[in-house]
């Protein structure tokens, strides 16, 4: 039973059920459909973060960078060369992977902090390339007139396509993490040396995981470009990477549904904020609150144990039982452990 399809893919099935209900309520409401599509796009980026940071422990600030590779790729292919958006989709999947793998091979040797700084700079390079790309990337003006998708030309069908892709990404991630590769990724995140002793080529495995997560971000970029039909230098910036990171962390980066829940929650919250400027303040506040009280995110927290712990006054819900001489270095969130070595 424990290893059955239903148990394994429960997150995907739960999301499917939630979507069925949400689709009924949003049906025909242009405003909610538009929001739903944006949530789906951010959910994809947050899933990308969940795989890369939550599972493999690579703190990447380049999520939006890879999304913009996919978005500008499909924008240029469709507007400049008149190619089909579906060729653009292929590009949006493959190009971020091909970029991410060699970069990760070079970067994952770094310890967590320099690694995230490096991805931060990488994201900056993508932005500069877009701005200085002249007519090719649209420069400061951007590229407009990106065609809508023939299979999803209305907001309603785009809603289904976008969430269909989220479900697919989730399904693939769940499969991956329940395979020998997934177990190796978890081992490598916790202790790279242990993974090596299991026979895992750690740099290759982490770089491959990074590449898969980049491909998911690329798909988000593809949706973004064909949904808004415009790509500009300010569309997918490092700011967006940080938002996606925040969504994953708030929802629970190590859980499968957490990033999706985080994306929905934060974007619905944004709708009700009085002004765009307050967003940074509120998001910052949420991040601090989550890290203080539920460092494993909303879905990663054992709420029952947390409540029980509160009432009985003691018992840390996330404290791992210490074994005399276990020797393993464990930090509070542990997601960045062992990446550097």
């Amino acid at each position: 039973m424990k290893h059955s399809f239903v148990t394994r893919q429960r997150p995907t099935l739960v999301l499917m059920a939630i979507l069925a209900i949400a689709s009924v309520f949003t049906y025909g409401h242009a405003f909610w459909l538009d929001n739903s599509i944006v949530i789906a796009i951010f959910a994809l980026m947050a899933i990308s973060v969940g795989l890369c940071y939550g599972q493999a422990g690579i703190l990447s600030m380049a999520t939006a960078g890879f999304a913009s590779v996919g978005a500008f790729g499909t924008a240029i292919l469709t507007t400049r060369y008149g190619l089909s958006p579906y060729i653009g989709f292929g590009f949006a999947v493959v190009a971020p992977m091909l970029l991410a793998y060699p970069i990760a091979r070079a970067l994952t040797r770094l310890s967590p902090m320099p690694l995230s700084m490096a991805t931060f700079l990488l994201s900056g390079i993508f932005e500069i390339a877009v701005r200085e790309g002249g007519d090719f990337t649209g420069g400061y003006i951007g590229l407009s007139g990106i065609p809508r998708l023939s299979i999803a030309d209305t907001a309603q069908s785009m809603h289904f396509l976008a969430w269909g892709l989220v479900l697919l990404a989730l399904f693939l991630c769940v499969n991956l993490m329940h395979s020998s590769h997934g177990r190796a990724i978890k081992t490598a995140r916790h202790d790279a040396l242990r993974a090596t002793a299991d026979g895992v080529a750690v740099p290759h495995l982490l770089a491959s995981t990074f590449a898969v997560s980049a491909a998911i971000a690329g798909v988000a970029g593809w949706l973004y470009a064909h949904h808004l039909t415009y790509m500009g230098p300010d569309s997918l910036t490092t700011q967006v990477s940080i938002q996606a990171m925040l969504m994953a962390v708030v929802g629970g980066a190590q859980t499968f549904l957490g990033p999706v829940v985080g994306a929905a929650l934060l974007l619905l919250l944004t709708l009700n904020l009085p002004a765009a400027e307050t967003q940074g303040m509120v998001f910052g506040g949420i991040l601090v609150t989550v890290l203080l009280f539920t460092p494993r995110g909303l879905l990663g927290t054992n709420w029952k144990a947390l409540m029980r712990g509160r009432s009985s006054g003691r018992e840390e819900p996330f404290a791992r039982p210490a074994q005399p001489g276990s020797g393993a270095a464990i930090s509070g969130t542990s997601v960045t452990d062992g990446v550097g070595s």
Binding site: H178, S179, T196, A197, A201, Q323, G325, A328
Partner: protein, 261 residues
């Protein structure tokens, strides 16, 4: 078929951790390494598995010099090891930890794993079945869903051994596997090591429990301060004053009684 360690030197900065150590491990034999703390036993394991750089001398596995073979590939070609201090994620379940050991024999690619092709699904089922057999074998099936952080250290060591032998290695390097084990578990481990040796696995054993060493090993090497002191059959070593002084200490009488038990 053998691992041949030939006059290996390992240096950490100015400190010489191993000096001219030579050991030969043949298939189906149990070779023990004993010595006081800091003698270089674990460093020798690291030199064989490639986790410590060998500055001089050579390590050959099945007549191939592995100087340029990265550690993970040495594991893939039939080497397995445990760590003196078990390295484990305390949040991982017993079953999952043992399943991790199947990685070298898994042929699934990343893309296959993503879509879970029928071949990958079948391989997963096979590994799960093999994992169940291992768990039963080590009497761990009751606690398969317990996380490693919550089970006794002795059981954690058994999980580590199960994880190491999951990929059916040809050479097994065990670093103090019996530390913290209760008597029945120790006997189970002894039987298992014997059984593995009979099926042709070469076993290199680091162990402080001299009674266990005497029971199991065909050959024993005594290391002291990174160099080989003496080697031979355990019974012979007991007679050697150098061994007694370096390892058992001055009050030989007490220890030999303890070891004889």
């Amino acid at each position: 078929m053998s691992i041949i360690v030939d006059r290996v030197n390992v240096r950490f900065g100015g400190v010489s951790a191993l000096t001219d150590v030579s050991i030969r491990l043949d298939s189906g034999r149990v070779v023990s390494i004993i010595g006081p703390n800091g003698a270089g036993k674990s460093t020798l394991f690291n030199a064989i598995t490639g986790l410590a750089a060998v500055s001089d001398g050579s390590v050959r596995i099945d007549d191939t010099d592995v100087a340029t073979t990265p550690p993970y590939r040495r594991i893939a070609c039939g080497l397995a090891r445990t760590f003196q201090t078990p390295r484990f994620d305390p949040l991982v379940t017993v079953e999952e930890a043992v399943l991790c050991g199947f990685y070298p024999v898994s042929r699934a690619g990343m893309l296959g794993a993503l879509v879970r092709t029928p071949a990958v699904a079948k391989e997963e089922r096979d590994h799960l079945a093999a994992c169940n057999r291992l768990l039963e074998h080590f009497k761990l099936d009751d606690m398969r869903d317990a996380v490693l952080g919550e089970i006794p250290m002795g059981q954690v060591r058994l999980v580590e051994v199960a994880r190491a032998i999951a990929n059916q290695p040809r050479y097994l390097l065990l670093d103090e596997p019996a530390a913290g084990l209760a008597k029945p578990e120790q006997e189970m481990l002894t039987t298992e090591i014997r059984r593995l040796a009979e099926t042709g696995v070469g076993i290199l054993l680091v162990e402080h429990n001299f009674a266990l060493v005497r029971q199991l090993s065909d050959h024993t090497v005594v290391l002291d301060r990174g160099a080989m002191l003496i080697e031979g059959r355990p019974e012979k070593l007991m007679q050697d004053p150098r061994f007694v002084e370096a390892y058992l200490g001055a009050s030989h009488q007490d220890h030999s009684e303890e070891a004889a038990r």
